[in-house]
């Protein structure tokens, strides 16, 4: 067998078999009972050469409409944002991407320091005191927040706004079933959490009030009012947040959030058909020892030199096994690194500028669409997304728009019975005035 990933030669094989004291490789598998030994050859496609395979896969990729060739107005939790070229260069350094979890700190200082910096940046954006080294994605991070809250308050019910991303709510439902936690939905009214309903639902059984900021419909939730309601009933206040929006918005930490979660995908991570992205998880100092996942801390070596290690590991599965705060092991380290590079490139000025551009471009798009006769589903302050009403099923409109080179918005009828023919439109800083004007012109016929 000659293969570029397999350096074993026939000569090597002979020498090694001799050292082991067996005649053939198959003898090393003699402990597998005959009944379960696989006979014959796996019925999978034969190997292809590098050239032949890349040609095939390039053709397969070309069947997809990608946002490098199409103009996208699709968001709903995953966005087409500016990704500085430098991001991919940094994460392509194989000392980073071919390393394991930094369990040997002496030869993993690079990764550990990068994660320490990432934790700091997430704290800065969210206004929280502690952030972990990453979770799988925003959805699972949201679910883990509910579990932390339930464990901490010893209560078994969470209130979740209907204006939270439906994918995140669905993931939460699955996790909650495992933990016997009751999930109750707080209705939204006009695209924002209905605070009157929330008031009536808060009892001393509620572990957490969970909202999204900006919410799934793009609106800016009244974190100030929700915080006091949650804390009055001694429930935890959990906020899921698009971290890019926090370049412009007052951070949830300043409104007294206990746990802030979300996805760092807007920072340098490709949409990649839904993953891998990068969940973040930030808490108050009080909850530091309850956080799921890995934490990097600063310390010193035997000569007093500054260095970084994985710390507070007594929370984790490899130490605590069935008593761990979570079962998470692999996380999204490389994507956290990518997000760090993107956040660093944007820096203190860029993060504000990019967030404000999203606000302003979406505002412009909203104005232009209404001028063209398209009705907004609801009024209210929005970040880079908003909801419009169409006269036709969104799916039909989207198919027609694809013909024009446009990936239009999200079909809300898929998740909300009463929002048929409503489209969630995302306008990021990537969209030029010309893109927006084209979109408005094409969409006007469906008003």
């Amino acid at each position: 067998m000659n293969h570029r990933y397999l350096p074993m030669t026939e000569q090597d094989q002979k020498e090694m078999l001799k050292a082991v004291g067996v005649e053939k490789i198959d003898d090393l598998f003699s402990d597998i009972p005959k009944k379960v030994r696989f006979q014959g050859e796996l019925n999978i496609k034969p190997a292809k050469s590098e050239t032949a395979l890349t040609r095939e896969l390039m053709n397969m990729a070309a069947k997809n409409a990608d946002t490098k060739h199409y103009i996208s107005f699709l968001g709903a939790g995953v966005y087409d944002h500016y990704s500085p070229t430098i991001v991919d260069h940094v994460i392509s350094r194989s000392e980073f991407y071919t390393a394991y979890t930094p369990y040997q700190p002496e030869i993993s200082q690079g990764e550990l320091q990068a994660i320490f910096e990432y934790q700091t940046m997430i704290c800065e954006l969210t206004g929280m005191e502690v952030a972990n080294s990453s979770m799988y994605d925003g959805g699972t991070s949201f679910a883990e927040a509910a579990m932390l809250a339930a464990g901490q308050t010893k209560r078994k019910k969470v209130l979740v706004s209907e204006a939270v991303n439906p994918e995140s709510r669905a993931v939460l439902e699955t996790y909650a079933a495992g933990q016997h936690i009751e999930v109750v939905t707080v209705p939204q009214k006009n695209g924002i959490t209905d605070l009157d309903s929330l008031k009536g639902m808060l009892t001393d059984e509620v572990a957490a009030v969970m909202v999204q900021y900006p919410n799934f419909f793009g609106q800016i939730e009244r974190l100030d009012e929700i915080e006091s309601l949650a804390h009055d009933s001694k429930s935890m206040f959990v906020v899921s947040s698009n971290p890019l929006a926090l370049g412009a918005l007052t951070p949830p930490g300043q409104f007294g959030a206990d746990i802030v979660v979300g996805d760092a995908q807007p920072f340098g991570l490709p949409q990649a058909f839904g993953g891998p992205h990068c969940g973040y998880f930030a808490v108050t100092k009080k909850l530091m020892r309850k956080v799921p996942g890995r934490l990097v801390g600063e310390t010193t070596d035997d000569e007093g030199q500054r260095g970084y290690v994985l710390t507070l590991q007594a929370r984790e599965q490899h130490i605590r096994r069935d008593k761990a705060t979570s079962n998470i092991c692999s996380n999204q380290a490389l994507n956290a690194l990518a997000a760090s590079v993107a956040m660093t490139a944007l820096g203190k000025r860029g993060i504000v500028e990019i967030a404000q551009q999203n606000f302003k471009k979406a505002h412009y798009a909203k104005q232009q669409l209404t001028s063209a006769g398209i009705e907004l589903a609801e009024e209210g302050f929005t970040f880079n997304e908003f909801v419009i009403k169409l006269k036709q099923p969104v799916k039909e409109v989207n198919e027609a728009m694809l013909e024009k080179g446009i990936i239009a918005g999200y079909d809300l009828g898929r998740d909300f019975e009463n929002r048929r023919n409503q489209m969630l439109v995302a306008v990021t800083e990537q969209r030029t005035k010309e893109d927006i004007d084209t979109f408005v012109k094409e969409l006007a016929q469906y008003a």
Binding site: M8, I44, T67
Partner: protein
């Protein structure tokens, strides 16, 4: 090596520098304050660093030099399968049609991505011998929990609510019991016998009407094949439980023994181990789950279906456990794994396991005279040594591991599994050459000699790294988990 502190990126920041390029706002400007409720526009900018592009590149290049990856040198970390990460995988994952597609696009516009997912599933079904596969779980532990939730749904659908216990061997990965807890089960431990295999008598003792499942890694974490797998399967199945396969060690048995043929009902795979998704410094991974027929109704939704030439997502799955992750899994990692499988083909995958196993047995036999070998029999893709002999001379396994750093190696997994004293778990993988193995073996023999002659050299290791042994107690007692500007008062 010269010790030198690498400043934090924040310490390199200087007011007025920028590292980005945004198109200037080309729509009419508006006062940002008018776009949000009062008090909701941030008053102070987050303290992100202000650095120019070259500063950024130099900073991260410096950090990368302070990090050891598979491309830097041998990485025989047991149970982690640190094999070569092919570069073509990285290129394919970056094709615009894979990297820059949105998960909620109309399915007519993402048929290529769905085709890749579907074909990957078909390949994994054949490789594992299962009936259906979901790609949704993001990592191994996530797959474990997904599989256990499905087992729970299966029992509950049969009105069987008393199955509250999951059995795990004492040699199991820590994620097994943790995943069982998150899925709402209690964990019972089954002992290993003096052969390093699950003790059948103990298994018969702990199994019962409350058994939901047995979680097993085969070969187990000692690198030994559980020869009694069929007996174990019948013990569990006769008791009404399900058999769960932790795929962390699949690299040993590709085309040799399929979990589906061994009697397993649920399997998770770590595509970032056996199928070369890079480990990325801790992730992202991908943890697909395969199941036998009777568990198909409980798979996470949506599932991918093929109608004629067209691919679709089927959300109408009334018995599904629901979503375990937004969208369809870590697609980017799945693209890499698919590229790898198609690069290897059936012969290649078979050779992978054969060479991985030969490499491990070769190292084991050559190191056996110098360290204690707790289980003297053929191993599979990895093996464990015990540092008992060295411990008597005052040198612990941790010291041996740290000494290996001086030779430019990443040490083996240490102190795991828990049932072997002063354990070292070594997994060479098939992508390493005999020369690499020989050099590592020589280093281990030299260290064994040092333990006898100059133990302090080992006890005080490492001597050549950019930093010495770090004070982990201090890190945990006075946690500093983020940078703060010096003048800022500690909260």
């Amino acid at each position: 090596m010269h010790k030198k502190d690498q400043p934090l990126i924040f310490e390199l920041s200087k007011e007025g520098r920028t590292g980005y390029s945004l198109t200037a706002l080309d729509v009419p400007d508006v006062d940002i304050q008018t776009l949000a409720p009062e008090g909701f526009i941030r008053k102070t900018a987050p303290e992100l660093p202000e650095v120019a592009e070259l500063d950024i590149m130099r900073h991260y290049t410096a950090l990368s030099k302070r990090n050891h990856g598979v491309d830097s040198g041998f990485y025989p970390l047991g149970s982690c399968t640190m094999k070569y990460n092919p570069k073509v995988n990285e290129a394919v994952a970056r094709y615009a049609g894979f990297a820059h597609v949105h998960p909620l696009q109309e399915t007519s516009s993402v048929q290529g991505a769905m085709e890749l997912m579907y074909d990957l599933q078909q390949h994994l079904i054949e490789i594992t011998g299962m009936d259906e596969v979901t790609l949704q779980p993001a990592a191994g532990a996530h797959g474990e929990w997904t599989g256990l939730m499905m087992i729970r749904a299966f029992h509950e659908a049969n009105g069987d609510y008393k199955r509250t216990k999951v059995i795990v061997p004492d040699s199991a990965h820590g994620t097994n019991p943790a995943s069982a807890t998150v899925a709402g089960f209690d964990t019972i431990t089954v002992k290993s016998d003096n052969q390093g295999l699950v003790d059948l008598e103990d298994l018969k003792r702990v199994v019962g009407e409350d058994t939901a499942a047995l979680m097993l890694t085969n070969p187990n974490t000692l690198g030994l094949f559980e020869e009694n797998i069929l007996e174990m399967a019948s013990i569990i199945h006769e008791a009404g439980g399900k058999l769960y396969y932790d795929g962390a060690n699949l690299n040993a048995v590709l085309s040799k023994a399929r979990p589906g043929d061994m009697g397993f009902d649920v399997v998770h795979l770590n595509l970032h181990k056996t199928f070369t998704g890079p480990h990325g410094g801790g992730g992202p991974g991908s943890g697909p789950v395969g199941v036998k027929k009777d568990l198909i109704p409980y798979l996470p939704k949506p599932i991918l279906v093929k109608n004629g030439d067209r691919y679709d997502f089927d959300y109408n799955r009334p018995d599904s456990i629901g979503r375990v992750k937004p969208f369809y899994g870590n697609f980017g990692i799945n693209v890499r794994a698919y590229t790898y499988i198609r690069t290897m083909g059936p012969d290649g995958l078979k050779a992978v396991s054969e060479f991985a196993v030969l490499n491990a047995n070769y190292m084991m036999r050559r190191l056996a005279p110098h360290f204690d070998l707790p289980f003297d029999r053929h191993c599979k893709h990895e093996f464990v040594l015990s540092g008992k002999r060295q411990k008597k001379l005052g040198v612990r396994t941790l010291d041996v591991a740290k000494r290996l750093l001086d030779f430019g190696y990443h040490p083996p997994t240490i102190y795991f599994p828990l049932n072997v004293e002063e354990c070292m778990m070594i997994e060479p993988t098939e992508t390493e050459s005999k020369e690499t193995l020989d050099a590592f073996i020589d280093a281990m023999i030299q260290i064994a000699k040092e333990v006898e002659e100059t133990p302090e050299v080992v006890q005080n290791a490492p001597h050549t790294t950019i930093i010495g042994r770090l004070d982990e107690t201090k890190a945990a007692r006075q946690p500093v988990l983020r940078y703060r500007k010096k003048e800022t008062v500690e909260v």
